[in-house]
């Protein structure tokens, strides 16, 4: 009875956590990279916008962002949509600030001569970033980027407090319904998070090795 209930709830929660993680990772990476591009752009207002974004979203507690996207903005009819997407919004906006800083540090490791050579063959600023600078920047920041994604994995658990049925939500449910199996509840949920983190670290290590070959 307990075992079948545990596995089915774990499976449900795991799927929701993966969806939160997948969407937030995707959006945060795209947004964070765009912000990093803004921060190195030759246009001062864009740079200022990038800096302000990072300052605001990196320094706001994640729970506060959730309160804003889940409760505050819908109250003003600004962000409608399901709780799931409101949670993804909070997670993405928050994580994008960290992705931006990591990518920007990666851009700074790429020798300035690379961008000059790209501009010399007629590439525009955006093409230079996209084809020459960013591919090299990402290679140089695989470990810190993986850390950002691992932090994001754990941060998805905040969504449980806002009624998203993720792994952590399932944990509190299980504790309530099966207080006698307290340890098993904790261990199995922890194992699920560890599995996700292990996959991220493994993928990062694999990428790093692949990139090392071509250097």
């Amino acid at each position: 009875m307990y075992l079948s209930e545990l596995t089915s709830r774990l499976a449900d929660g795991f799927l929701v956590t993966l969806q939160l993680l997948g969407w937030s990772m995707l959006i945060a990476t795209v947004l964070g990279t765009a912000l990093a591009a803004m921060r190195v752009s030759p246009i001062p207002p864009l740079r200022a916008l990038g800096v302000s974004y990072v300052n605001v979203f990196r320094n706001t507690p994640l729970v506060v962002l959730f309160l804003i996207t889940v409760v505050g903005l819908p109250e003003l009819n600004l962000l409608t949509g399901s709780f799931f997407w409101r949670a993804v919004t909070a997670l993405s906006m928050y994580t994008a600030a960290f992705v931006c800083e990591v990518v920007r540090s990666g851009i700074n490791t790429v020798q300035v001569g690379q961008a000059e050579a790209a501009r010399s063959v007629g590439l525009t600023f955006t093409q230079t970033l996209r084809h020459v600078v960013l591919p090299q920047a990402f290679r140089n920041v695989i470990p810190p980027l993986a850390s950002v994604y691992i932090a994001l994995t754990k941060n998805t658990s905040v969504a449980s407090a806002f009624g998203i049925l993720d792994l952590t939500y399932q944990l509190s449910d299980l504790i309530e319904d099966f207080p006698g199996s307290l340890y098993w509840n904790f261990i199995s949920i922890a194992a699920c998070y560890i599995l996700i983190v292990a996959v991220i670290s493994g993928a990062a290590a694999l990428f790093e090795r692949r990139v090392g070959v071509s250097r």
Partner: protein, 263 residues
């Protein structure tokens, strides 16, 4: 100062007539903070002409070269390429840069791309050439500079001389109107200098318009129509290589030559 007509004495092997002005710098000034790196520079480079820029370290040679494709902005004065003033920013500037090939002292090959992809990136992305066409042209150029058997290698796997020849092919792939070389052999071991200079000499003989910052006297004598001597941000003297090396007029040039010719 406007010495474009001094260039009539073509060196041996020239098969293209020296023509109308292609690069025209007029009254160009540039500061780095309080340092006046370019002072009232007037320089005209004609189509098909090879100009060697020479001078002590810090005299502004690199900066001069880099203003021609606007890797450095200028504070005053005008620079024209083929009769058009340099655009300030954006797509127009990118288009202009496509017409100006640049070869750097440090090669600056794209580290994450193969030799072939290094050469085709510009033509494909900036000019919209088809991949197959760009690759065919790239192979021709790589053959010409003698590295066609290395096309699938990455830059760090090549010797310095090979990297610089790939960099020349990469610039030529854009079919530029003028080629700029900023000390292209200074980072090379002596045995590799010749292979790069040979490629440059051949290019000069084919009639490419070139501005070359170099201290290679042999190359200047062999390929240049004109030597421009810079010191402290000014063009101090312009002459044919023959006249400059045997009979420099200014004391600054004489000083400089006595220093570099004694070792």
């Amino acid at each position: 100062m406007a010495a474009s007509n001094q260039s009539a004495a073509a060196p041996t092997g020239m098969n293209v007539a020296v023509g109308e002005p292609l690069v025209r710098m007029h009254g160009v000034n540039k500061y780095f903070g309080s340092l006046h790196v370019l002072q009232d520079i007037d320089l005209t480079v004609d189509r098909g002409e090879v100009v060697v820029v020479i001078g002590p370290s810090g005299s502004g040679k690199s900066t001069l070269c880099r203003t021609i494709n606007r890797l450095e902005t200028v504070d005053s004065g005008t620079i024209e390429l083929d009769g058009q003033p340099l655009p300030a920013e954006g797509k127009g500037l990118a288009r202009l840069r496509a017409d100006v090939g640049m070869v750097f002292q440090a090669f600056n090959l794209f580290a994450h791309k193969t030799v072939l992809d290094n050469v085709t990136l510009g033509p494909i992305k900036a000019k919209g050439e088809k991949k197959a066409d760009a690759e065919r042209h790239a192979m021709e150029l790589l053959e010409r500079v003698g590295v066609s058997n290395q096309v699938n290698k990455y830059p760090p796997q090549l010797s310095g001389g090979q990297q610089q020849r790939v960099a020349i092919a990469r610039a030529l792939a854009m079919r530029p109107k003028v080629m700029l070389f900023d000390e292209p052999t200074s980072a090379l071991d002596p045995e590799m200098i010749k292979e790069v200079l040979d490629v440059m000499t051949a290019l000069a003989e084919e009639g490419m318009t070139m501005v070359v910052v170099t201290h290679e006297m042999g190359f200047a004598r062999r390929a240049a129509h004109r030597v421009v001597f810079m010191d402290e941000g000014q063009i101090v003297e312009e002459a044919t290589p023959e006249a400059f090396f045997t009979d420099a007029q200014s004391t600054r040039a004489q000083d400089f030559l006595s220093k570099i010719l004694t070792h």
